[in-house]
């Protein structure tokens, strides 16, 4: 088998990305734990972890750039490196979202704890499950598993929308609870972003494995339907 060094470099790149993935998952989990236990020390860990994530993001991008320049990758190798770069960015944003949540938790510590009509833990579980599954599909190069992740996004979106509605209602009707409601809203929003990032990762995996660009499938299909009906798409 030729190009052993190149293949080794690809393996190294993959491992680096997996470490990045681990850090992002860990950050998410910690942020959720901090929320559940209202533990500021965990927030500290999230902040420190953020630095590691940022450093690794730069390393991965640099390694990928070098491979593109030096090795002229083609076909599957090219798609792999491209998806590594994109997944890298998504994971860094997952880290950001985790930090957001952790900041909200800090903010909430200063306030009284209240019951709010929103199931943050359930959203959190779903979102982190999506992240785990999408990364699993990357490790195993399994496009079908990635497609499953795509279907889970709707549920999280729905929960976020519902949270939005009920929290707005709380803020209107019980304005003294507005600060807590706002924080909860922002946490919900952050979790919805995590789910989106997991979806993107899954799409990148599908692109890598099958050469299929499945991004924006919803809006593309929608505009196709609208065209069929004779209505123009407002852009």
């Amino acid at each position: 088998m030729t190009r052993i060094r190149f293949q080794q470099s690809l393996e190294n790149l993959k491992e680096k990305l997996l470490i990045m993935a681990g850090l992002a998952e860990q950050a998410t989990q910690r942020a959720i734990d901090a929320y559940r236990e209202r533990d500021l020390s965990i927030c500290q860990q999230v902040s420190r972890g953020e630095i590691d994530i940022n450093i690794l993001e730069r390393e991965i991008d640099q390694a990928a750039l070098d491979l593109l320049a030096m090795e002229q990758p083609m076909a599957g190798d090219l798609r792999f490196i491209l998806s590594v770069i994109k997944i890298n960015a998504e994971l860094e944003r997952v880290g950001n979202a985790a930090k957001s949540i952790s900041d909200r938790v800090r903010n909430m510590q200063k306030m009284a704890a209240v019951e709010l009509p929103v199931n943050i833990p359930r959203m959190a579980t779903m979102a982190s499950e999506m992240v785990r599954k999408s990364l699993q599909s990357f490790i195993e190069a399994d496009a079908e598993a990635a497609r499953v992740v795509l279907t889970m996004d709707d549920a999280v979106d729905a929960m976020n929308k519902a949270a939005f509605k009920s929290l707005i209602k709380v803020m209107e009707e019980q304005s003294h609870l507005a600060p807590q409601a706002l924080n909860a809203l922002m946490i919900s929003r952050a979790l919805e972003r995590v789910a989106d990032h997991a979806t993107n990762i899954a799409e990148d995996v599908i692109f890598w494995v099958q050469g299929d660009d499945v991004r924006h499938h919803k809006s593309l299909n929608l505009s196709a339907d609208l065209k069929d009906k004779g209505e123009t798409n407002a852009s």
Partner: protein, 252 residues
């Protein structure tokens, strides 16, 4: 203007060795088509079947059909006639060493008894302009010999020589493999411009080059054509695993 090439059930032999097996291919007009594959895969043999240069080897034999435009080149014409419609540029630049630049470009016409001075002057100028060499040699056309130019210039001279007889197809067998990167870029830019007037088939072992200049690419392996598709598909997501293995360098 260029014409398309239609190849059907082409087999080629050197004596008892079969060099090509059942090649079927449609090369589109006014496009550049690249043929890639490992050494000995038959791509050069294939290209030489398109202008019947394969036959210069006394042991060569061909079955099947090659149509260039409407012409069945094996049934309806003689090799000499075909080669005036299908030009060829070789791997190593081969200008005629005893001839000046002018004579080199005009060789294809002069040696076919075409001698009208005025028209020859025009054709030489036009061919040299089309091969991006005019500006560099216009003052030395008859004074300098073809062999006194640099490698890249010599190759462009050979291209001009091939274009002077006004072919419809231009075959290029690894035209830039003996050249430095700057000359290579010049030749590639040239191919891009020539596409408008000619059908170009380029054999190359440099995949990046195929990717840069050709709309369609065919992958040859062991005398067969494994895959033929648009270049971007071949290089980003080929259908056949053998193509993928070759392109990514996984070949043993």
């Amino acid at each position: 203007m260029g014409v398309g090439i239609e190849v059907t059930n082409l087999d080629a032999w050197y004596g008892t060795t079969q060099a090509l097996q059942d090649i079927n291919l449609n090369i589109p007009a006014n496009h550049a088509t690249a043929l890639i594959g490992p050494s000995g895969c038959g791509k050069s043999t294939f290209v030489r079947c398109l202008n019947r240069m394969h036959e210069t080897n006394p042991l060569a034999r061909v079955t099947g059909t090659v149509r260039i435009g409407d012409l069945d080149i094996y049934k309806d014409a003689k090799p000499v006639e075909i080669r005036r419609r299908v030009g060829m540029v070789f791997q190593r630049p081969n200008p005629f060493p005893t001839m000046s630049i002018y004579d080199n470009v005009a060789a294809g016409l002069k040696l076919n008894s075409y001698n009208n001075r005025h028209v020859l002057d025009e054709i030489v100028e036009r061919s040299l302009k089309n091969s991006a060499l005019w500006d560099e040699v216009k003052d030395d056309l008859k004074k300098k010999s073809g062999a006194s130019l640099s490698g890249g210039q010599q190759q462009r001279l050979c291209i001009a020589r091939a274009l002077a007889v006004d072919p419809e197809v231009l075959l290029m067998d690894e035209p830039a493999s003996a050249l430095d990167p700057v000359s290579t870029s010049k030749i590639e830019d040239l191919i891009f411009q020539l596409k408008a007037q000619y059908t170009i088939v380029i054999v190359t072992h440099n995949m990046q080059q195929a990717a840069r200049v050709a709309e369609k690419t065919g992958f040859f392996l062991n005398g067969r054509m494994v895959e033929f598709d648009s270049t971007d598909k071949i290089f980003t997501n080929p259908s056949d695993k053998r193509t993928e293995d070759y392109i990514t360098g996984r070949f043993g």
